[in-house]
């Protein structure tokens, strides 16, 4: 069956008007309109968090956030990409930290400025309770902070919206690191596998893969689940 011709709608990319098919994602619509992504695009599957976008829709004062590869365009939408949110990357050795509130406050003291306004939660394209995990970190509940933030992609939209200038995704990452290091702890199957790797049990297999033709390798990859 022939596909119906797509309805065309108007979008504004950084103020410039474009006519684009109505069923495209923001990312595809922008490419349709002639934009080429050098930054702000990654997996195109909603997993990497590279394509953070802010937009407003017709007749609404609300400034909303989305992943460009996931959100379908709407008529009259104003769009701007936020390919990067400036944030200082703290370096720490997770083996030397304590899984409590003082660690969060030491590296990110600004979390004490949280107003509980919930703007971060409202801006999250992953529907994460961002404010709740920042608050959990503030009271040293590492497990809660790690679990609530599990789906975070570090897209940065919460960080650009926070009126207290907190970078929530950094808190989330620290929480998950502390959680896996001190609360879950090392898991036996991982330790066993590391031992196997170090003992060279997979060396032969790797060499075999390295020497394969591209087609064979692709076939092996595509049928990997079945072979297991």
């Amino acid at each position: 069956m022939e596909k119906n011709e797509s309805e065309m709608i108007t979008i504004y990319v950084m103020g410039k008007k474009h006519l684009v098919p109505a069923d495209l994602t923001i990312m595809k619509a922008m490419e349709y309109a002639g934009h080429q992504f050098k930054r702000g695009a990654g997996c195109r599957g909603g997993f990497c968090g590279a394509c953070a976008t802010i937009y407003r829709t017709k007749g609404s004062y609300k400034l909303q956030g989305a992943l460009a590869c996931q959100k379908i365009v709407e008529d009259g939408m104003y769009i701007a990409q936020i390919p990067f949110s400036p944030a200082e990357k703290k370096t720490y050795d997770v083996r030397e930290l304590r899984p409590d509130a003082s660690t969060f406050l030491e590296y990110y003291p600004e979390i004490a400025r949280c107003l509980s306004c919930n703007t971060c939660t409202k801006s999250c394209p992953q529907d994460i309770q961002v404010m709740d995990y920042v608050q959990a970190a503030l009271r040293g509940d590492v497990e809660e902070a790690a679990k609530l933030s599990f789906d975070c992609l570090s897209c940065g939209l919460c960080a650009v919206r926070c009126p207290a200038e907190i970078v929530p995704y950094n808190i989330a990452q620290l929480a998950r690191r502390l959680y896996s290091r001190y609360i879950v702890g090392p898991t036996e199957h991982v330790l066993k596998r590391v031992e196997e790797v170090e003992a060279g049990e997979f060396d032969e297999g790797i060499e075999e893969l390295k020497g394969m033709e591209r087609e064979t390798l692709q076939h092996r990859y595509e049928t990997r689940e079945k072979r297991l």
């Binding site: 409590d100 509980s116 306004c117 608050q135 009271r139």
Partner: protein, 296 residues
């Protein structure tokens, strides 16, 4: 009786013994404190500025959670129990403001938009008020190991009693802690500075101010013959307790005196053991003096 319980950040971090002994002693009295499933910082001092609407979001949001708990049937009581004096003061004042200041509430509602509105049905109470309501006789009935011979100076600090209209007791002549300690079998030592300031947040940048003020309070307690000081505020506990190291640097003749939460003494009198009393968390350690008195 199931009551919504708002512990606050400090009871989950540096004042865990206050949290644990609170829940344990309430349980012993037939009160189940149900922690709010979702809660955020109370807003602390910032929320006390009358014209700062943004900072009211934090306390109001917590009160919304109390209403949600009731709606969901997790509790059937609109009174949210607080224990930290700062949380109590902040939430209580914000609640009052929410009921009186319609302009402020409209702004908050407009900002919160699709989130549930605060209907104004929650009541903020302090655990000491709950204990007073159920009656100190009932507390006394539950005592297994009376604190006989233990001389305790109750210390209120500021936030439980002031401003006057938000106080849990008479601002000038409070007696609720005295009555409670009496019910536990302790000997109450009255000190004139029991509601003087401990130095509060000066402890962050001007610790000598906190040390000086705390020194006056503690010296009075020691002169009056107290074995230890009982408090209901984590910041007071810190300034009066942990800051004794600074006090000693300034006042060399100062002799340390343990400072504990009133709930720790309740747990002790209820015979609940170190698991509930958590005296190991206090600095200075109150256990030697309790041992001396044959209480542990």
């Amino acid at each position: 009786m199931k009551l919504p319980y708002y512990p606050g950040c400090t009871l989950k971090t540096t004042a865990k013994s206050f949290d644990v002994s609170t829940v344990a002693t309430a349980w012993a009295l037939g009160i189940e404190l149900v922690e709010l499933p979702r809660w955020n910082c109370c807003g602390t001092v910032h929320a006390l500025a009358k014209d700062d609407v943004m900072h009211y979001l934090a306390p109001i949001r917590n009160l919304v959670r109390v209403e949600q708990m009731n709606d969901e049937g997790l509790v059937d009581d609109n009174r949210v129990v607080t224990q930290c004096a700062m949380c109590y003061n902040t939430l209580k004042r914000a609640n009052q403001s929410a009921k009186e200041d319609l302009e402020k509430m409209t702004k908050i509602r407009d900002f919160m938009e699709k989130e549930p509105n605060y209907r104004g049905s929650a009541e903020v109470v302090h655990m000491l008020e709950i204990l007073k309501k159920i009656g100190f006789e009932k507390v006394s009935d539950r005592v297994e190991k009376p604190l006989s011979g233990l001389r305790v100076a109750p210390y209120y600090g500021c936030l439980l009693l002031r401003p006057r209209e938000f106080g849990i007791d008479d601002s000038d002549k409070p007696s609720v802690m005295e009555d409670l300690l009496g019910a536990l079998g302790a000997e109450v030592v009255d000190i004139p500075f029991k509601s003087k300031c401990c130095g509060a947040y000066h402890t962050v940048q001007m610790k000598e101010v906190a040390a000086d003020l705390s020194h006056r309070i503690l010296s009075q307690a020691a002169e009056a013959g107290a074995d230890l000081v009982a408090t209901a505020c984590p910041l007071c506990e810190y300034n009066l307790g942990d800051r004794q190291k600074e006090i000693k640097k300034i006042f060399r003749e100062f002799e340390s005196i343990p400072v504990v939460y009133y709930t720790q003494l309740m747990a002790l009198a209820f015979g609940q053991g170190e698991e509930a009393t958590m005296f190991g968390e206090n600095d200075p350690d109150p256990r030697p003096i309790l041992k001396e008195g044959g209480l542990i």
